[in-house]
């Protein structure tokens, strides 16, 4: 825990220290770069508004519950506990939503239970796919993301599948 808290300050100090040795005019270079950041963040705003609104509406509409029920029989086939299914569905869509579900799973089933471990691995080995796509393409002029979404969802799906398999493998809780 402590080590990871130290990484960022050390990296920052390290970069600045190295630049000092290389005689870089640190302050003016830094502020010039930071200034570019302003226009970048303004540029991503429209895409963020569009997608975050869509995700918010999707979350509250109850479509998620229907999706969870539809996927449940399939999840049983890959031996994914049904408690983890909502997390798997929410994970690519909403980071904060998935985090809330994850916390709920841990507090009700315990962190070291089979369900808790699968949820932990799943949460730790995946990302908020839709948000990342919106954010990263939002700062460019790209309108057609082509095959980005299918590939990302493939990766997510394999990650989910593997989180079930690896936990059962590493912790000897085969079926």
């Amino acid at each position: 825990m402590k080590l990871t808290d130290m990484i960022i300050p050390i990296i920052i100090a390290g970069i600045l220290g190295y630049a000092l040795v290389q005689r870089v005019d640190i302050f003016s270079v830094f502020t010039k770069g930071a200034k570019e950041g302003i226009s970048v963040s303004i540029k991503i705003l429209p895409a963020l508004i569009a997608l975050i609104t869509a995700i918010g509406m999707f979350k509250t509409s109850g479509a998620l519950d229907v999706l969870t029920n539809a996927i449940r029989p399939f999840a049983e086939k890959i031996h994914m506990p049904s408690e983890v299914v909502p997390l798997a569905i929410l994970r690519p869509i909403s980071g904060s939503g998935a985090f809330a579900v994850f916390e709920d799973i841990l507090s009700t089933h315990g962190a070291d239970s089979l369900i808790g471990r699968i949820a932990s691995v799943l949460e730790g080995s995946s990302e908020t796919t839709f948000y990342t796509i919106a954010l990263y393409f939002g700062c460019t002029r790209v309108k057609k993301t082509r095959y980005t979404l299918p590939c990302s969802l493939t990766a997510d799906f394999v990650g989910f599948l593997m989180s079930v398999i690896t936990v059962r493998m590493f912790f000897g809780m085969m079926f």
Binding site: M1, T4, I7, I11, I15, L16, Y18, A19, Q22, V24, I26, V29, F30, G33, A34, G37, V40, S41, L45, L48, L51, T53, A54, I55, G56, M57, F58, T60, S61, G62, F102, E103, L106, G110, A111, D112, G116, S120, V121, T128, I133, L135, Y136, C139, T140, R141, K143, T145, R146, Y147, T148, L149, P150, C151, S152, T154, A155, D156, M162, T166
Partner: protein, 213 residues
């Protein structure tokens, strides 16, 4: 993007009509838009900071060193990017931030990488192969040490919050690998389709010439 955006909204409204949650959905439509602005403002600080810091690192020649370190991998994944170019450097910086689990740093660096890629390949309305590979890598999570997950496990009484690490690594690697394979497969398919189209039009052209003669 159009399809994701419109699809999600239309599906939510249709479902909300069935589940009777239309009121909450309408609230979400209004509220979430303003929370997106808050998120953007919150991001602006870190984006500006890391953008500035990376400029300093770049001037000092650090980014070049790191990108040389990564080049055996990145050369194969991003064939269209110039090695040693600004885009490649930012891609490598983002990847190292991801590996270290520095989410706050990885996002602004990733945004910078996307912009540099756009500069290098020329602005286009459709995503380049390198952009797709990069975004897929980022959505598949390259993180080595999931710190927030471990913290939450500790809070919920885990005896050893990091005992899931091997499982996380294997899952992450499998997920990243399948993402890369999927991207390469799509690249190959589109290339083949393009070749077919070229051959087709060439044949047609030859036929016309033959007829004219």
């Amino acid at each position: 993007m159009t399809w994701i955006f419109a699809g999600m909204i239309i599906i939510s409204v249709v479902f909300a009509l069935f589940t009777g949650r239309i009121e909450q959905v309408s609230q979400a439509a209004i509220g979430e838009a303003s929370s997106a602005v808050e998120l953007c403002l919150a991001l602006m600080g870190t984006i500006c900071f890391w953008n500035g810091l990376m400029k300093v690192a770049d001037k000092a020649g650090l980014t070049e060193k790191i990108s040389r370190l990564f080049s055996p991998v990145t050369k194969r994944l991003f064939k269209d990017l110039k090695s040693g170019g600004a885009a490649m450097k930012m891609v490598c910086m983002n990847m190292s931030a991801n590996l270290l689990g520095l989410g706050n740093a990885a996002t602004p660096l990733g945004i910078a990488a996307m912009r540099e890629m756009e500069n290098e390949c020329g602005a286009s309305e459709s995503a380049s192969n390198a952009m797709i590979m990069f975004v897929v890598l980022n959505t598949a999570s390259l993180q080595l040490i999931p710190t927030t997950v471990a913290a939450l496990r500790l809070k919920n009484g885990s005896a050893n919050p990091f005992d899931i690490l091997p499982a996380v690594w294997v899952s992450s690697i499998a997920s990243v690998a399948s993402g890369v394979i999927a991207v390469k497969l799509f690249e190959w398919l589109t290339r083949r389709r393009k070749q077919k189209e070229i051959r087709h039009s060439l044949n047609r052209y030859c036929d016309e010439v033959r007829k004219a003669v």
